[in-house]
Each structure stands twice: as C-alpha cells, then as structure tokens.
Amino acid sequence: MKTLRILLASLTALRRNVMRSALTTLGIVIGVGAVIAMMEIGNGSSASIQKTIASMGANTLMIFPGAAASGGVSFGAGSTMTLTPDDSEAIQRECPSVRDTAAVVRSKNSPVVCGNKNWVPNEILGTTPDFLKVREWPLTEGAAFDERDVRNAARVCLVGQSLVRELFQGQSPIGQEVRLQNVALRVVGVLAKKGANMMGRDQDDVLIAPWTTIKFRVSGATTANTVTVATTTGSTAATPRGQLFPGASRGTYATRSAIQTKNSPTPVRMITVDQITVSATSAAETTEAIAEITGLLHERHHIGEGEVDDFNIRNMAEIAKALSSTTVMMTNLLLVVAMISLVVGGVGIMNIMLVSVTERTKEIGLRMAVGARGMDILRQFLTESVMLCLAGGAMGIALGRGTSYLVAKLLHWPTLPSLGAIIASVLVSASVGIIFGFYPAWKASRLDPIEALRYE
C-alpha cells in the first residue's frame, strides 16, 4: 500500500511538470527505440549475411575415403574405396546434427556431346537428389531427378549454366538429349548460377546425374570404381588385408562354402562411392556432426581404438571462419551502438533529475519537516526516475518496432524481431533509471531540512 502511495506521489510530482517529464523521457524513448530498431535491422542483416555465407557451404562436410598404404608408401586420399551408399544413408538416419547427405561418384572428365557441339565440363557428378539440398543449389528450370531415377539408373541429368551456354546457346535445354561417353542422357533440369568457388573454379560448369547412372552406365560398373573382393585366397590387390574394413570379424557378405566358391567363382561386387557430402543442421553444428559421423563410421567400418581411420572428414574451415567472424563483429557493433544510445539517454535523465532536485529543494525541505526520512525522499526520487525510464522504455519499444516495421515495408531491408532486445531494453532502461537517478535522489535525501526550507 505504501508502495502504491509512493507511486501515486511520484506520479503527481511528474504530472506537475508534464513538459519536462516528456522531454526527459524522450532521451530514453530515442535510446531504447534506436536499440530495438538497430537490433531488429541488424539481426535481419546479420541473418541474411550468415545465410548467404552458409549457402557458400559453411555447414558442408565432405567425407573422403582414406589413403591406402603399402610398405610405408601412402597413395594419398581416395586411393582406397571404403565409402558405400549405405554409409551415406546411415549418416542421414543416425546423426542428429546432420541435415542432408548425398553420396557422390565422379566420372573422369569426358566430352558431353549435343548435336554438333561438344564440351568437357569441369565436373561430372553422380549423386542423389539430396545433393541439391546439401549444396543449397536451386534449379532455375525443370525438376531434379528423384530416388526412383537413382534406383533405375535412369538416363537423366541436370546441367549447369555454363553447359547451357556452351551447348545450347542459352536456349532451354529441358527435354534435350546429351551424350556422355555414348550414353544418351535427357536433360531434366537446369541448375541456378553459382559462380566460381573460392579457388576460382567455375561451379556452373557441371553435369549432375544419378550416381547409379554415372557408375554403371557411364563409367562402367566393372572398371576403376568397383572393388573386386574375391573370396578366394590371395585377393589382396585392392584390399591388402583381404578384408574390406580393417578389424572386420565377418565379411560384408556371408562366407561361402568351398563348394559354392568352386561352383561359381564370380567375384562379389562391393559398390563404393567416391565421396559423401553432408550438410550439418547449421554452421555451428559442424563440429558436432563431425563427431557423430566419425563415431558412426568407426562402428560401421569396424575401426577399433587406436587404429587408423579409413576415411577423412573435411569442412569448409575458411568459410566457417569468415562466418563466425562476421557474426561476432555484427553482434559487437550492435552492442556498442545500443550501449551508447542508452548511456546518452541515462545522462539526460540524470541531468533533468538533478535540475529537478535543485528546483524542488523547498519541497524536499517541507517533506522532511512534516516527517519524511532521508530514505523516503530517496525512494520518491528514485521511483520518479525509474518511472520516467520505464515509460520511456515502453514508448521506445513501440518506436523501435514501428521503425523496423517501416524499414522492412518501405526499404525492403531484412529485419528480424528480437524478443531479447525488448527484454534487454526494458531491463536496461529500469537500471538506467536506478543508476542515473540514484545520485540526484541521494543528493536530495542528504539535504538539511532547515537549509532546504530557507532555499529560494
């Protein structure tokens, strides 16, 4: 009840000088408004910048097969084939930090023929439809091939912008046929322009087909990309230890009896892919995703403690670094701007409250004469400044939200409403009221009632 009456008394005091109260509040209104508008616009810009950088592949991970070694000589990354399409599906299924995965096979760069033209693209990739999601690569025309096309090794493909330019003179290639090593592929979609990557490689100079098509129709199933695992003795050519995965107690396929082997000596085909491309749920989750994938592949490939991994995981460290430094810088910039606005508003409040204390010296003396303790005076002035700040904060929130709404509507800048900014500015405006209102209030409470009453 006493609190209520102090509130009422403060309100009456503020109402006695509406203009001054309004002007004082204006400082905080503008301060808080600026903070909220800046935060929303800043957050929007930051999010859109981050999204742009992320689409460059900040959250992309690439898993390559490990290196083969023989007698101390390493043959470099990709010299063994240890990744299978099943690995890709297992990663997708079992790693929570992973958004999409796509198995990738590469074909050697051979000319793509269309009518009387031919062109050797930078990359010929065989993959799954999820590859486009992993790379965040939209289509400008047509539609992507689907899972059924992958299962059937359908003769379809997607082409990049550079191919469209070189082979079709910019005309729509949808429905046209191109030939790749004498395999006719129907173009079903055109990839959006992506430009060069960080190494200056033209990313649009690409042809993408289902990986089964590339592997079994174009490259030929029995050539380089297939590991031949003969269960007969001495099958160490491709897998030096006679096992596909080190430490495997059991082969991938059921062991056949000697009679079976004798009866049908056909080698068992182990289907492998060149690479698995994975996108983490966000750029921040890549570390988590790497840990999950490593664990899963250790289990699947029977790699024990202390044994050498038969795969490598790489992330886009350069892009990720750019992303995180951009985010940190944006956040700091916004924070500094917000702090400056609020301190300026707070100093304004302190000025006005000091003026108010001087002007109301007589009133303070009178209140003390009729029995107000120093504490009561302190509380009243503090309440007044906190009320001013909170009212200013409330109006500032409206002003800030309004500004960011107008900016989004009229200038089409990206804005992102930030509940954090609103809560923070309410808390900060209350603390500005307390901190900057304390000195004047303390000064008022220390007045000598006799002096104060005599003050003119």
Binding site: A369, V370, A372
Partner: protein, 234 residues
C-alpha cells in the same frame, strides 16, 4: 503537565574560525494547552530556538524534553517520525506544493507516518480537516487559485492532519493582510481552546503577540522577558 521542557539549551555555530553562540542557555517550560508568542528582534535567536523545538536542529548542549521524553539526541529518522506525529508546522510563505490540489497537500504527511492508511481513508481525513479550516469547497483547487489566507489555512490543515499536540507557527501572518490575519488568529485560538492544541507562534507583530496569553521575548540568545497577560483580540 509540561509538554515542552528546555534545560539550559545552547546552540553554537562554528563558521570556520568564527565561533558564533546563538542560544546561550535557554531554560523554558511550556504546559499543555498553552498558546505562546515568541518575539524578539531579528538575530535574537528565535528562529534557531524554533528549529530546535521543531526537532529540525540539534542543540549543542542542554536537554529538550518533549512529552517527558528526551529528544535532542534521537537519530534523524526517529526525529522525522516525531515531527510527523507530535508537531505541525506552519510557515510564513505557506510552503505549499505548486500545482497540487489542496486535498493532496493535506494528505501528504500521512505518507510518512509509518502506519498503514488506505488511500480512501487518507482522502476522507484530508477532506474532514479542510472542512475544519473552512475550505470544504476548495478541495480540488491548486495554490495559485487560492488567496493568501486560504493558502495558509490549507497549510494549517496539513499541519494538523496527524492530530499533533504541538503546533509551531513561524510568522504565520507575515504575508497576510490585517483582515486575514484576524481570521487565521481566530482559527488558531479556536484550535487552542477547543482542541487543546499547544501553539507556539514566532512573530514580529505586536498585535499577534498580544492575542496570546503568554509572550516570551528574546534578546541576544537569551530569554529577556516571559509575561503572562490577559490576551486581547487583535
């Protein structure tokens, strides 16, 4: 029964090197229900004595017993509560809050009483007190809308809202014309006689002094004369 008992009250101001004795040993008793005028030339120490009596200032030496209780050595907060409960102040220049309605002015001391009083009860008490001083129809007026006499009556209502036994008036008629002076003094007298409130008036005006039963004259920090006379109406 003595309301106020002063024993050898001394007050000395130290202004750097200069030692300035203002009260040089005042011994005084005022009984309950008295109406006393305190006069004297300026600089005689009557304002300082008034501040001491009003618990706004501490004496340098001596004892001050208010209602048989030693108060000169109480803490600041305890003296604030004492001012709130035991005495009312009326000033020469009224000291009303600017741009505040009469009712709110009168309610103000209730805020500091330390007791729980609802807003409703506070309003009612303020209204009753304004009615007592004859301003029932002026409750929502601001000081600028009131005459000098009316303003002083609002101040009086404010001083009396906590029903204090002692009323201290510092030149209460100094800013009023003779007609309003008579009205205000009549009101003082009525309060003194009907409600038994002890009243101490500091005044220069011999006519105001003459309306009191007892006149204390001060000179040079000491009581020069203490006379009880038959009061005349001014």
């Amino acid at each position: 029964m003595n309301l106020i008992e002063l024993r050898d009250i001394r007050k000395t101001f130290f202004l750097g090197e200069v030692v300035l004795p203002v009260l040089k040993g005042i011994t005084l008793t005022i009984a309950k229900g008295e109406m006393v005028a305190l006069t004297g030339a300026s600089g005689s120490g009557k304002s300082t004595l008034m501040n001491t009596l009003g618990c706004l200032d501490r004496p340098t030496a001596g004892d001050y017993l208010l209602d048989c209780e030693e108060v000169s050595r109480l803490s600041n907060d305890a003296r604030a509560l004492l001012r709130n409960q035991k005495m009312g102040f009326v000033f020469q220049n009224f000291n009303l809050l600017p741009r505040t309605m009469a009712q709110a002015q009168v309610m103000m001391p209730l805020l500091y009483g330390g007791k729980h009083i609802s807003q409703r009860e506070a309003r009612q008490r303020a209204a009753a007190m304004l009615e007592r001083v004859g301003l029932a129809d002026r409750m929502d007026h601001q000081p600028s809308q009131l005459s000098g006499g009316q303003q002083q009556r609002v101040a009086l209502a404010r001083a009396l809202i906590n029903q204090p036994p002692l009323l201290l008036a510092d030149e209460p008629t100094g800013n009023l014309d003779s007609q309003t002076t008579r009205e205000v003094l009549a009101l003082f007298k009525q309060l003194n006689e009907q409600d038994g409130i002890t009243i101490l008036i500091v005044t220069h005006d011999p006519k105001v002094a003459a309306s009191c039963k007892r006149v204390i004259r001060m000179a040079d920090g000491l009581i020069e004369a203490d006379e009880t006379t038959v009061p005349r109406s001014p």
